[in-house]
Symmetry: C2
Subunit: 150 residues, 2 copies
Amino acid sequence: MILSKKSTYGLKALIALARREGEGLVIISDLAREARIPKKFLEAILLALKNGGILQSRIGKGGGYSLAIPARELTMGRIIRTLEGDYAPLACLRDASYPHCTECDGMELCGIRQVMSDVHRAIAKILDSALLSGVVERSDATKQIIDYSI
Amino acid sequence: MILSKKSTYGLKALIALARREGEGLVIISDLAREARIPKKFLEAILLALKNGGILQSRIGKGGGYSLAIPARELTMGRIIRTLEGDYAPLACLRDASYPHCTECDGMELCGIRQVMSDVHRAIAKILDSALLSGVVERSDATKQIIDYSI
DNA sequence: ACATACTCTAGTTTTTAAGTAGATAAGTAC
DNA sequence: GTACTTATCTACTTAAAAACTAGAGTATGT
């Protein structure tokens, strides 16, 4: 569950967009510069977020990106799932419906599978209850503390 | 938190060893054949587990591997940590002591960091309370159910 | 028309995981 | 002691995924 750069970049961009919520569209170049993300890479990430329904965009002059979902309703789970694909800790957990997979020869894996299934649920629970707005607030709080302490 | 093949193989081998606990040493070739793991790859994995204090071995004729820690005292957390390295969900979580990392420019990451820290703790809690013996028992239980259902 | 900005296709580079080969050291039985 | 067996070590190779880039294409406002 190490967060990829793709997801990290995506989250940073979303945080930046959440901070400007309601202020109209933001262009990729600005986001890339502010968050220090390679522009071309960010393009692909934002596009994925748009296709996932998390962002909306307008093309052409005056265009740019904005949140399609309010930060108070957008969960970390949805964001990460959109960027990483489903974060199943074991291949055979991908489709939860399947009772056992071919890998579980001799069933050694099925014991492992059950533990990893617990892990999976625990991760999902945390990420699906963490809202983007909360992350922004916590970032601001941290910033203040650090500003004061310097 | 997708489990690598290295860890999966390692766990399968440990389960096999746990099943023969108290029955002396098991040679690599047997483990590799039974668990269908490339022998050379398994060698490296078992060596890592030995260096991590999880396995013990004896060289020479009649030699082989056995658990250095009883299956009832060996946690999944220790096993996976030995094979994967510390499974921190974010690079700057690796040393928990450090209050913030250089990546947290503008502090966007610190909000993310806190959420991922929760994830990290949740994973550790589950894996550190799951014993190898429990995994073996659950595997056997699953096996029975499936045997009956066929 | 033209500048602006997103969209799309198709790459390249870098990194990490996965797997292999073969030599060497070391213990045990006989 | 020597032949056998097994662990240990170094150094590759291959395969796959992550990270990043280039450039053409398309839509939009003025």
